[in-house]
């Protein structure tokens, strides 16, 4: 608990410092290139408004998921079934947001220790990293449907292949049948 608090503090300090550096860079650029100042302000303002409209919705979804789909629920159901059903379950559970990727690693390790298939763990981690639902809402908003759905489909295929390959290599081609 204490360690977590320290981590949080240094994180936010780093964030504020990063914000100051970015702002300073923008001010310097605005002084050096005064004729581009207008374009800078317009672009920033436009995206600021877009974020202001979309972010509350996204954070509400994150909040709802975090309360109604706790991590324990995911741990309980993952690694239960095998085959294609296991793949779909890993994918689906990975898509439910329950924090950043580093939260998923301990979950994955616990499941491995419990004897879950390595392939499914990789699928779960890939889904967690790449296709969480609020993230996809954001992608849809800013990149459009064609980009979002194509990338989604390709990522699902990639997740399956990554799981298969990792399991196969780590088992030395023996355990996989």
């Amino acid at each position: 608990m204490e360690k977590k608090d320290i981590q949080k503090k240094t994180f936010s300090k780093g964030r504020v410092a990063a914000l100051l550096v970015t702002a300073a860079a923008a001010v310097i650029l605005a002084l050096v290139l005064p004729d581009r100042r207008q374009a800078f302000l317009e672009a920033s303002w436009k995206f600021f408004l877009e974020m202001l409209i979309i972010l509350p919705a996204i954070t509400v979804m994150i909040g709802l998921f975090s309360v109604f789909v706790p991590k324990e629920l995911i741990t309980k159901h993952l690694g239960e079934s095998s085959g294609f059903k296991g793949f779909l379950l890993s994918l689906g559970l990975g898509m439910l947001p329950a924090g950043p990727l580093y939260v998923a690693f301990p979950v994955a390790a616990a499941l491995l220790a419990k004897g879950a298939r390595r392939a499914n763990i990789i699928v779960f981690l890939t889904a967690w990293a790449c296709i969480k639902l609020p993230q996809e809402m954001m992608e849809f908003t800013f990149m459009g449907p064609a980009f979002t759905f194509t990338r989604l489909a390709l990522t699902v295929i990639a997740a399956a292949l990554m799981g298969f390959l990792t399991e196969r290599i780590m088992a030395g081609g023996q355990r996989y049948s």
Partner: protein
């Protein structure tokens, strides 16, 4: 307000109302968690907003087009994926940034490479991954993640 933004807000409000009917206490808890997430994100939202302004305002279109544009080919994809692997941007905030890159002349394949490797690979979370999943699995996951990010990008460039 775009249709998409309206739909997203509609989804959130509907979700909240349903949650409120099912369990009022939990719904309030979710609102609180949402507020925390929003506040936690705020400084980074401002960073991204300024960064987008810099990309669209100060960086010449020709430069972005040359480095990660259609002409840059595989080199542009590789560069974007490498950037994505190194950088630490919350995925939710990566999409506005990616959108602005697309607007300012980056190739669709480069942007796809950037997003995919950004979300798939995290240099910052590497120590945790190593410790928890072990050297071998971490290596395979990240190497395959990077290769597949490049492949996804190339397929997307060919399809869209």
């Amino acid at each position: 307000m775009s249709v998409t933004a309206l739909v997203m807000n509609g989804l959130a409000v509907t979700g909240l109302i349903v949650a409120g009917i099912v369990n009022r206490r939990k719904a309030l808890q979710a609102l609180k968690a949402a507020w925390h997430a929003f506040i936690g994100m705020a400084p980074r939202v401002l960073i991204i907003v300024i960064l987008i302004g810099i990309i669209l305002g100060f960086i010449p279109r020709e430069f972005i087009a040359r480095v990660v544009g259609g002409e840059s080919g595989f080199r542009g994809i590789l560069l974007s994926a490498t950037f994505g692997a190194i950088m630490f941007i919350p995925s939710i905030l990566a999409f506005p940034l990616a959108g602005s890159l697309l607007e300012s002349g980056a190739a669709l394949s480069s942007v796809a490479a950037f997003i995919t490797s950004l979300t798939m690979i995290g240099i910052v979370s590497l120590p945790v991954e190593l410790k928890v999943l072990g050297k071998k699995m971490t290596l395979y996951r990240n190497v395959f993640g990077f290769i597949f990010a490049l492949m996804i990008a190339m397929v997307m460039g060919a399809l869209l």
